[in-house]
């Protein structure tokens, strides 16, 4: 589904990704762990096409397409979803309006029929219910005044509504309380654990991986994948820390 080869990228002319390679197959869940500043969020932004993140070398193929040739909104319509480490507040735009425009923009780009107002609300209700989020929250402006945990949960409601093929979730677990962590974990499984979908979880802790069992765990350090393994690698990291495991 996703094939990253020898990816090099700079931010403000500073090299951050330095030859990163990674392949994710449909039906798989991968986790990336790694020290602060290693380039995990940078990877997600580069894949999402954020302005200012420049690819200097390498290639990314998504579902047989050259991902890097697409504009950010085209990547989303192609089925890529970015769960933000810091979801952005948009004053004056309600979640309902935003997500309906987003869902229908994606549909339009894919040549599919748009959702009616009623169909959209039904879908939104279902996904909000899955994440135990009150519909009243969706009437509020996008992320404005949401607590850290509420923002992360709202990201997952968005994911449910947009129904992507590949979700890159950047520290979706950070800021969640114990119950919310389980709800979000269950939500990710319900929405994304399907033979034709895949997930890349970026996380610092094992706790999310208890709910969303990864097939492969990678360590990203200094802009590269320096080690990959099974779910046991995450436990080993948690026990012994990056320095011991990566050395």
């Amino acid at each position: 589904m996703l094939k990253i080869e020898n990816l090099h990228a700079t931010v403000a002319d500073k090299p951050i990704l330095k030859g990163l390679s990674l392949t994710i197959k449909a039906g798989q869940i991968h986790a990336i762990m790694g020290p602060n500043g290693a380039g995990k969020s940078t990877l997600s932004y580069v894949l999402g096409g954020r302005p200012g993140y420049e690819v200097t070398q390498g290639s990314v193929t998504f579902d047989g397409q050259d991902l890097l040739a697409l504009d950010p909104h085209e990547r989303a319509a192609a089925g890529l979803f970015l769960g933000f480490q810091y979801p952005v507040e948009i004053p004056g735009v309600s979640n309902v309006q935003f997500l309906r425009e987003a869902a229908n923009s994606q549909r339009k780009q894919r040549g599919e029929a748009e959702l009616s107002g009623g169909d959209f609300l039904k879908l939104a209700k279902e996904k909000a219910g899955l994440l135990r989020m009150d519909m009243e929250m969706l009437k509020r402006n996008v992320n404005v005044g949401f607590s850290g945990g509420e923002k992360k949960r709202a990201e997952m409601v968005q994911m449910g509504i947009l129904d992507p093929k590949l979700a890159i979730l950047d520290e979706t677990d950070s800021g969640l309380d114990i119950d919310a962590l389980r709800i979000v974990g269950d939500g990710i499984n319900a929405i994304m654990r399907k033979p034709d979908k895949a997930v890349l979880l970026i996380t610092h802790y094992q706790r999310l991986l208890d709910y969303v069992k990864p097939d492969v765990v990678h360590v990203l350090a200094d802009g590269r994948i320096v080690k990959s393994g099974g779910p046991e690698l995450a436990l080993e990291l948690e026990r012994e820390g990056y320095e011991a495991v990566v050395a």
């Binding site: 302005p51 948009i90 935003f98 869902a103 923009s105 780009q109």
Partner: protein, 252 residues
């Protein structure tokens, strides 16, 4: 002052950001063309306007707001040539003036609001919210003068101007002028000129919104502030749509 001396130039405070070439074509009769409005004690009057065309326009309005009365004015200024809306308001005791204005457009036109609010008596309040969205070489201005008379205690006057420039060549100007002769007075002025929120734009793109749709949503949220005081009626939606339709003409 003689009639001739009344033709303004950009040296005049109130005309400092105006289009000098257009000023040269003004005539005394155009300048004398004030529309006057009197609002009786305790009454509320609302004026909504969409101003601007292919030719320069000057709109001058003088409003007398009697005791406890309320004047509301909501304007979209989206002309393709120099378009100026000038409002002079006199507030009697406990009167209120509510102003919501939007300048929006590209090309090389100057679009401006000039308001003079005279808090002539105690306990009057005024609130002015102006939003400007420009591209091309366009200019958006707000000149707001507030005068508070010597015994106009408990005056509460508020002005808020914000501009978003969608392209490098566009600009915005604002200059508050406060003349306050009373001491128990609240006057608030806020101003900010900036670009569209790039973080929000990327967030929206990451959810599949093409740039023009994201821009429209962000501009809608931005200019809607000017019409919030109208409440959720069809009129505010109409003004908002008119403003946003102008954005549709932008080839950005």
């Amino acid at each position: 002052m003689s009639a001739l001396a009344a033709i303004p130039t950009t040296h005049d405070e109130d005309w400092r950001y105006a289009d000098a070439a257009v000023l040269a074509t003004l005539t005394p009769d155009k300048l004398a063309n004030w529309k006057t409005v009197d609002i009786a004690p305790g009454k509320t009057q609302r004026h909504t306007m969409v101003v601007g065309s292919a030719a320069p326009e000057l709109h001058r309005i003088r409003i007398q707001v009697a005791e406890g009365a309320r004047a509301e004015m909501f304007v979209v200024n989206n002309g393709a040539a120099y378009t100026r809306v000038e409002v002079e308001v006199r507030l009697a005791k406990g009167a209120h003036f509510e102003f919501g204005g939007v300048t929006i457009g590209g090309g090389d036109a100057t679009r401006e609001f000039v308001t003079r609010v005279d808090h002539a008596e105690p306990e009057a309040t005024s609130s002015q919210i102006i939003r400007s969205v420009h591209w091309g070489q366009a200019i958006g201005n707000f000149l707001g003068r507030i005068e508070v008379a010597r015994d106009a205690q408990k005056t509460d006057a508020e002005q808020n101007f914000r501009a978003i420039l969608l392209e490098k060549g566009a600009s915005a100007n604002t200059k508050p002028e406060l003349e306050i002769f009373a001491d128990d007075v609240k006057c608030a002025h806020g101003a900010a000129i900036g670009q569209l929120d790039q973080q929000a734009a990327f967030y929206m793109a990451a959810r599949g919104l093409p740039p023009e749709v994201a821009r429209k949503l962000l501009v809608q949220a931005f200019v809607a502030d000017a019409f919030t005081a109208m409440g959720e009626d069809g009129e505010s939606a109409r003004l908002l749509d008119t403003a946003l339709a102008t954005l549709g003409e932008a080839a950005l």
